[in-house]
Amino acid sequence: MVTLASRSRTPQGSARKPKLINGAPAPNPAVRVLKGIVLLICCAAVAIPFVGVISTSLADQEQITQAGGYVLWPERPSLDAYEAIFRGGVVTRATLVSIGVTLVGSLLSMAVVALLAYSLSRPGSFAHRPLLMLVLVTMLFNAGMIPNYLLIKQLGLIDSWWALILPPAVSAFQVIIVRAFFMEVPREIVDAARIDGAGELQILTRIMLPLSKAVLAVVGLFQAVAYWSAFFNALLYINSTDKWPLQLVLRSYVVDNTAIGTDLPGEIVPPQQSLQMAILVVSLVPICLLYPFLQKHFAKGVVVGAVKG
């Protein structure tokens, strides 16, 4: 039997004889409460750290001292911590570096991936199979940390932001996804364009790219997140602190707790915790801004990748 509570949540029209919801008998209330609790705990485990971090970054000196270091809700929110870290010191510079690397990297990556995917999207073209294999096989192996490091060194890219931008720019996975979209464009459209005198470049820019905006957005967003989050390449290749991206600053100031405030001029230095939390928030902001767009597309992208790969 179905209880009253579950009936109210049952979509209309499913009032057939064996009570089925998504093809399953209605669950009993105890199970539903248990599920609710499990999901609530899961969500809280993710949400509480964010709330704590944002609140502490916004809290004022008095409240933080009173609470002993951290607050879950700022009583008198202030932006002092943000003012302090953006007064032109290490954090300001690192934020600009990260923004620059992310923008240049993801735009370059999108362009190169789209071009490569287009060039590999026509079966029967010159050396189509060997070139496709050349790209696909890279998914199976990784040359290793030391040879990669030595390559960057030989190229003279140590301490250059290009060392962060170029190596991850093209991955076989992205090429496969974009290529799959290009190949779904009906041949007739392409042939018609060619008869009208369109060259490769026109077919790419007038037909392929407009039709695959969504997938390009996915690739661009994923690359943007990857560039923004890149920590290890920066650790390996960027030695001078004045070229550090934000992730390295975050590590040394927040994870390793290296004294902050030394390069922050000014009389009032906000509490250590709120400075640290402010840096953490700055590194979170772009992800959270991109997240709604990512979410719209990612499930599709991942599934397409899994099926076509």
Partner: protein, 305 residues
Amino acid sequence: MRTTMMRRLRRDWFLLMLGLPGLLLVVLFHYVPLAGNVIAFKDYRPYLTIWEAPWVGFDNFRVIYDGDPAFLNALTNTLIISLIQIVVVFPIPIALAVLLNSLLSEKIKRVVQSVLYLPHFMSWVIVVALFQQMLGNAGLYNTWARAHEFPILHLIGNADLFLPLITSQAIWKDVGWGTIIFLAAISRVDTELFEAVAVDGGGRLRQLWHVTLPAIRSVVVLLLILRLGDVLTVGFEQIILQQAAVGQDASEVLDTYVYNRGIIDGNFGLAAAVGLVKGAIGLALVLIANKIAHLFGERGIYSRW
């Protein structure tokens, strides 16, 4: 034959030109480093080029077959962490996907998913920082506990608790994201199958056993295969960030060993040798596992073309 090749080249040269930048990047950053692995057989010195360095044969591999204790420690830690990830971490997204799929309200399901996916997009630096700020000795919980006379928990920087710590970080970061692929597999199931079970008098558990789990079987096999290829690769960024706090005994894995020996100590030949063996074993494992998958009639990561 030759002339048709030439004709195709003449026809397609511009198409090839478009792909050239991408191909160059792929070759430069994926294939050229492969050749760089020759330094595993050389005595590399920073002031020599790779080609000038003298050959030393398999000397650099001695640390592996002589069973250097530091290397064995790294190998053991790697395998333990990998085992934990397969046995403990791997099944959780499956369970969570089944749970999410059983939710009746689409809206609640979407909200929960949005929240649980988010940590996947955070870098390890952020995740480690968040854990420290929440659970560290001077973190949110312990600050609160001190004020309210609750027990203090020394969770961070404690070598004995390093494995549970990195395991829970891995769960926190990626379990939500891990559900995506299972949810996709479940959603492809024909609902009539569920109804058939229900009509035959089967409850939710029978549906789970006879419909849901078989439906995601091939995805599970696929992911296990991919995971197997990574048995010797475990959370490098995550561990290197926290290594200073717990020491190398508890936290050294093969990747950190290669990093510490090579980049930090400058022993490039030895580090490259360890990395090369690691990569070769990983590749072999993927190929073997894929073969096994084919024997069991699964698609595997790639089918024979």
